[in-house]
């Protein structure tokens, strides 16, 4: 067996038996001729692989901050009450309950996956009904929710780039009129930026892959969409899967790659079959396969690889590790993926949305794209807006749109917005003096996650949720990110207990900077961002948290709290 099949092999056991037994591990390790601990190292890295038996129904409840403000606690309690199981423990024969990071459903929270089928807009009552029905033996699929997000806004008529009528094969037909070189030039001319969060110029990436000679090259569509609050890639796959697939085919044509892989996050496996269907339609129409649309030697095939629950695997280099059947640790890099990527071959990794835009640019021409947006970031962008807004959902906005417009009556209709998180936990928070800032390269970029919090939300609660996310999702390989995010989480917890001083504020900034400076990959380099920004941008809030300094230089220490455990134990044993 080839190591790149490891994740699929593990999935087979996981889905069939609910866990991966020691016997199975031993069998797989023999097949791969590696030690057992090597297989275990992979299994334990991914959230959705279990080494202990699970119940017939595995329930993953999203614990993101949006879920939290929409009623996570009550829903969680309801699940525990109705099933009689406890979260994050083994569970019984029927049910196992687990928390999980954002499942890309922020416009329909609280949401959960039950055996990887979506259940959205949950309430305690709904949970009661679902669990009762399952116990009754009803079909899970019949109970599952529809998940298509509302497209709340796009530029009118001809101006829309993504959300306009789609005709299968049109961009490819258009693209084949040009040479690969010309395709790359068109993308470069359009100044298309990678939309997965890093905003790296797409033309440059395609060009360098094109120029690296090799017998095999790969196009990878990054559908790991793990940044909490983002769901635009899901929406794209649900509304316009063909557009994304055409983007991959065009990337293959432009770079000389013949194989495409969609790395689909495990949370989205409920629409995997639908993508497979579209792929077959493409094959039948000779838009995939050999000699595509009669162009000699233009061959391209696409397969889907399921992830297994890991945010960091969205980082291109970790994604490749994961594809190769290893832990998703971003490797020490000596070269770019366009030189030595998947299987050490030139590889382009692009975000779902990026590929969709690439299709449209070829279809509509770069001038249409350049006529919109700003100088440095032309065109439009998809945002996933969630939180305290009347109209959560997908927005196709022109680059340069201001935050105040996004929040306004024409768009998301936010109610007393207070704390806006742009680009998810690894991005930047914005206060109400900055609402005139514009979403564009010249001002503040947004990867897709746009979370709105109103005045009733507690900032430390938001920040704690973010830090716990990073603490959990760090790959664990480097010290500052693994230990540092843990330390910062403890700091936030301490502040929540009312034990903060000005020194804590300073330390957050200093420690955060150290983590950012010394971490290996983008996760650690951005994880302290929100915290660092927040203490400066929300001074009023934090000032209220800080008691005046005391005469005797006592540090904030809560003696009552520190003896509470003792007191309660004595009470339990001696009365």
């Amino acid at each position: 067996m080839d190591r790149t099949h490891l994740l699929n092999e593990l999935w087979q056991y996981q889905l069939k038996f609910g866990f991966i037994s020691d016997k199975a591990i031993s069998r797989i390790s023999k097949k791969l001729n590696v030690s057992i601990v090597e297989i275990e190292s992979v299994i334990t890295f991914y959230h959705f692989f279990h080494q202990k038996p699970t119940g017939e129904y595995i329930i993953y409840l999203n614990n993101s901050i949006i879920s939290d403000i929409k009623g996570y606690e009550a829903v969680k309690a309801a699940f525990e009450k109705e099933t009689g199981c406890t979260f994050n423990e083994d569970g019984d024969k029927e049910f196992s309950l687990f928390d999980t990071s954002c499942i890309g459903m922020s416009d329909q929270e609280p949401a959960a996956l039950i055996n990887f089928l979506p259940f959205t807009d949950l309430t305690p009552n709904k949970v009661k009904h679902i669990i009762a029905s399952l116990k009754n033996g009803e079909n899970l699929e019949d109970l599952a929710s529809k998940t298509k997000s509302k497209i709340q806004y796009h530029p009118e008529g001809e101006k829309a780039i993504i959300f306009r009528p789609y005709e299968m094969g049109k961009s490819i037909e258009e693209g084949l009129k040009f040479t690969p070189e010309e395709i790359v030039n068109k993308i470069s001319k359009a100044k298309l930026l990678g939309l997965g969060g890093a905003f790296f110029p797409v033309g440059y990436k395609w060009n360098s892959c094109k120029n690296n000679e090799a017998d095999t090259k790969y196009i990878i569509c990054n559908a790991d969409e793990g940044e909490p609050g983002t769901f635009k890639d899901r929406a794209l796959f649900q509304y316009l899967p063909g557009l994304v697939i055409e983007g991959m085919i065009l990337a293959g044509y432009a770079t000389g790659a013949k194989e495409g892989i969609i790395y689909l996050r495990a949370e989205y496996q409920y629409f995997k079959d639908k993508i497979e269907d579209v792929l077959s339609v493409f094959r039948k129409a000779n838009l995939l396969g050999e000699n595509i649309l009669g162009v000699k030697d233009f061959d391209f095939e696409i397969r889907i690889q399921l992830g297994a629950g890991s945010y960091v695997c969205g980082a291109a280099s970790a994604l490749i590790e994961s594809l190769e059947g290893r832990r998703g640790e971003p490797p020490v890099r000596f070269w770019s993926a366009t030189k030595h990527g998947f299987r050490h071959k030139p590889t382009v990794v692009n975000n779902v949305e990026t590929l969709a835009y690439a299709s449209r640019i070829i279809e509509l021409g770069e001038d249409h794209f350049l006529s919109m947006g700003t100088e440095e970031s032309p065109g439009t962008k998809l945002l996933s807006i969630s939180g305290d807004v009347a109209k959560p959902g997908i927005y196709e906005i022109e680059f340069g749109t201001s935050i105040i417009d996004l929040l306004g009556i024409e768009m998301s209709q936010a109610t007393s917005p207070y704390f806006i998180q742009v680009s998810g936990p690894s991005g930047e928070c914005v206060n109400n003096t900055e609402f005139n800032r514009r979403i564009c390269k010249e001002d503040i970029m947004c990867g897709g996650s746009f979370m709105v919090f109103n005045r009733t939300r507690d900032i430390l609660n938001i920040l704690r949720n973010f830090m716990e996310f990073f603490k959990e999702e760090s790959c664990g390989v480097c010290t500052p990110c693994r230990a540092g995010n843990y330390i910062l989480t403890e700091k936030v917890k301490k502040m929540q207990r009312g034990l903060s001083s000005q020194e804590d504020i300073e330390e957050i900034k200093q420690w955060g900077k150290i983590i950012k400076l010394s971490s290996r990959c983008g996760l650690g380099k951005s994880s302290p961002n929100s915290l660092i920004y927040a203490v400066d941008k929300f001074k009023d809030y934090f000032n209220l948290k800080i008691p005046p300094t005391n005469e005797f230089l006592n540090v904030e220490f809560d003696m009552e709290d520190a003896v509470q455990e003792f007191d309660s134990f004595i009470k339990d044993t001696q009365t």
Binding site: V34, S35, I36, V37, E38, E40, S41, T44, F45, S310, R327, V332, F334, K471, E472, E473, S474, C475, G476, V477, C478, T479, P480, R482, A483, G484, N485, Y486, I487, E490, K494, E507, W511, I514, L517, S518, S519, R520, F552, L553, N554, V555, F557, M559, D561, A562, V563, Q564, E565, F566, D567, F569, I570, T573, Q574
Partner: protein, 421 residues
């Protein structure tokens, strides 16, 4: 290969193009601290101790190869502090009880602690309950000390090429696990190799845990004549002037630090000429008479009385010094911090081997202090001005610091004069 020019901290250096920065720097007489870096292994880039800036961009030095014209920053104040901070993270993330560690004195991590001058960690200790795995045939893996450097994972293989170690879990739960089947195939020599390449005391070979006797260990340098002299005490004897006042106390400590304070032998006679003791176990004064110049605190806080005493010291002393590991971060009493208080109380008072059924009780009375949920180090409770590491710190070390502070002399104690054990 071509010889190229590059700069380290503004200094012109030369090296072969493509050479590893750590080696190139060394050849040019510049030391860059490393931990996970290991000669023949591919750079692991996991510990991040070697972080430098290349043309202003931070990067792990061990993963950098030299190219013409590179401008590398190694020893700026920012980077020196950053390295220290990363090491401190390692100390607080694991449970490094150096005084009881087999590797102490021979430990690369500890040595870097000395090298970077760590006296205490700026971060709170996390006290995570970690396993000591003694199930393998030849070795013991003590997760309390593992810094996840990955050396063992990359280096140790059986003769047929199977890995013996690997990471399991992720995030803050990441740990090094052993493949028992493969481990059993290691020869004694291979097992010892694993122990040697581990930069900490995490991998030990059964029956071989102490590589070298105390005193002869790699980082000991503990020759009798290099003991820090305690000199010039006499010059501060001024008959007309009021003597400086010192108070001391032992909180959750073992009195070892107080023993050490007395260990300056005849120096004591000089000492009492310049200082007088207020509240202290040495004088047996229970209350403060006057305001003191310095308070020396041994031990951390494990009960309510400790907290009260410590707060009193803060109130009555101009300067407070934490003396010894227990005071600085909890030390040996803090071993209980990885367990819930309930378990500790049960084990100590209810379920111990010598306890009789229905005859046991947890001491609890309004006159005796209550046990805190965990052992707190002193700077979590009051502001501490100085920290003197050691278990216990050397007597001369303690008094030199006191003298230095009292008389505002310039005196810095550097490695190898202070120790964590």
């Amino acid at each position: 290969m071509k010889e190229v020019k590059f700069k380290i901290d503004g200094r012109e250096c030369t090296a072969l193009k493509g050479q590893n920065l750590i080696e190139a720097a060394k050849a040019n007489g510049i030391f860059i601290p490393t931990l996970c870096y290991f000669k023949h292994l591919n750079p692991l880039g996991s510990c991040r101790i070697c972080t430098v800036k290349n043309n202003g961009r931070p990067i792990a030095g061990c993963t950098l190869t030299i190219d013409e014209g590179m401008d590398i920053e190694v020893n700026s104040a920012e980077l020196l502090d950053l390295r220290k901070a990363i090491l401190e993270m390692m100390f607080v993330e694991g449970n490094h009880f150096c005084p009881s560690c087999e590797k102490s004195g021979d430990c690369e991590m500890q040595n870097l602690g000395y090298e970077t001058g760590i006296r205490y960690a700026r971060f709170p200790h996390l006290f995570v309950d970690r396993v000591v795995d003694a199930r393998p045939e030849r070795i013991v893996v003590n997760q309390n000390r593992c810094i996840k450097c990955k050396r063992c994972i990359e280096e140790i293989e059986t003769n047929d090429g199977h890995k013996v170690f690997n990471f399991t879990n992720r995030g803050n739960q990441t740990m090094v696990s052993v493949d028992y089947e493969q481990e059993a195939k290691l020869s004694e020599q291979q097992a010892e190799h694993a122990m040697r390449i581990c930069p900490t005391g995490s991998i030990l070979v059964k029956g071989k845990s102490f590589g070298k006797p105390f005193g002869d260990r790699q980082y000991d340098f503990a020759k009798a004549d290099t003991n820090i002299p305690l000199t010039d005490l006499k010059k501060h004897i001024k008959k007309d002037k009021k003597k400086k006042r010192v108070a001391t106390t032992s909180l959750a400590g073992c009195f070892g630090c107080h023993m050490s304070m007395l260990d300056i032998d005849l120096g004591l006679f000089d000492l009492v000429d310049i200082v007088e003791f207020d509240k202290s176990p040495l004088t047996d004064f229970k209350k403060f008479d006057e305001r003191c110049d310095i308070g020396l605190i041994e031990g951390g806080c494990c009960n309510t009385d400790n907290i009260e005493v410590l707060r009193k010291f803060r109130k009555h002393c101009d300067i407070l010094i934490s003396v010894g590991e227990c005071a600085i971060w909890g030390g040996v009493p803090a071993i209980r911090n990885t367990l819930p208080l309930e378990d500790c109380l049960k084990e100590a008072y209810l379920d111990s081997l010598t306890s009789e059924e229905n005859e046991t009780v947890i001491p609890n009375h309004e006159d005796i202090p209550k046990i805190l949920d965990k052992v707190y180090c002193n700077h979590e409770v009051v502001k501490i001005d100085y920290h003197i590491p050691g278990c216990p710190p050397n007597a001369n070390h303690i008094w030199n610091v006191v003298k230095n502070i009292l008389f505002e002399e310039d005196y810095s104690i550097t490695y190898p004069e202070f120790k964590y054990d």
